[in-house]
């Protein structure tokens, strides 16, 4: 298995960094353009969730790990932020805690739409771990 780990500060500008790094790592699996876009979108959603919800747009570190084994890509995004009280509810499409009206509440729905498998582990006060898997080049 090939593995890559990084820690990034919880800053919105790092959302793009996370996407780009993932795309570069993933390129060794020879993905199609569509697969690249799918994974970039899912990563963007997970990291944005960590920035906005996990760390409430305050300081924190986001831990990312990328794994490639055969044609299987695994992306782990972990934060040590506030956690999610009800994961099932948080994953419902259109569910959002945002009051500005600017957030669509579709983050998890997009991760699920673009990856083969999405697993969310979270406890209030313990942070959140999102594990996403996708088979590349089918």
């Amino acid at each position: 298995m090939e593995r890559f780990r990084m820690e990034i500060e919880s800053l919105s500008k790092n959302e793009e960094l996370a996407r780009v790094v993932t795309a570069v790592f993933m390129s060794r699996l020879d993905p199609t353009l569509e697969e690249l876009d799918d994974v970039k979108t899912a990563v963007s959603e997970a990291v944005t969730n960590a920035v906005i919800h996990g760390y409430q747009e305050k300081e924190g570190i986001i831990y990312m790990e990328l794994q490639a084994e055969n044609r299987q890509l695994t992306v782990l995004v972990r934060d040590l932020g506030v956690g999610i009280p009800d994961v099932k509810k948080a994953m419902e499409p259109m569910y959002t805690t945002d009051l500005s009206g600017e957030r669509s509440g579709m983050g998890f729905a997009f991760m699920e739409a673009f990856m083969d498998q999405v697993q969310v582990e979270s406890e209030p006060g313990q942070g959140t771990l999102v594990t996403m898997r996708k088979k590349i080049g089918r």
Binding site: E16, R19, K40, S44, T48, E102
Partner: protein, 112 residues
């Protein structure tokens, strides 16, 4: 510093030129800026110009939906133009394609 949004008014139409990457980071100022422009000018049509946009995630869906609600509440319209393949998939999965019309190019989107 990369420019995010630029705004262009043509009579009662506001054209919003979107950035290369339409994510949460780049969407931060849009609400404030458009609210200000809509308060100070009579606008009944917003054209979101995606010509430069190569990437969009659900943050883009959020801002489109909010502008759509704002404008339709006052009898106005929101349309899109210059959408690439990645953005189109996001719009479809996000349910935007059913709500908001998309035009090939800016001129067609302005005229309607």
């Amino acid at each position: 510093m990369q420019q995010t949004f630029s705004y262009e008014a043509r009579e009662q139409t506001l054209i919003i030129h979107l950035p290369k990457e339409l994510d949460h980071h780049n969407c931060r100022n849009l609400k404030y800026e458009t609210d200000l422009l809509l308060a100070e000018n009579y606008i009944n049509r917003i054209v979101f110009d995606f010509s430069r946009t190569e990437f969009m995630d659900s943050s883009g869906i959020g801002i489109l939906l909010n502008r759509y609600k704002q404008m339709t509440a006052n009898g106005g319209k929101v349309v899109l133009c210059g959408v690439n393949a990645q953005v189109r998939r996001i719009l479809t999965i996000g349910g935007i394609s059913r709500l908001i019309e998309s035009y090939e190019n800016r001129e067609a989107a302005v005229v309607g």
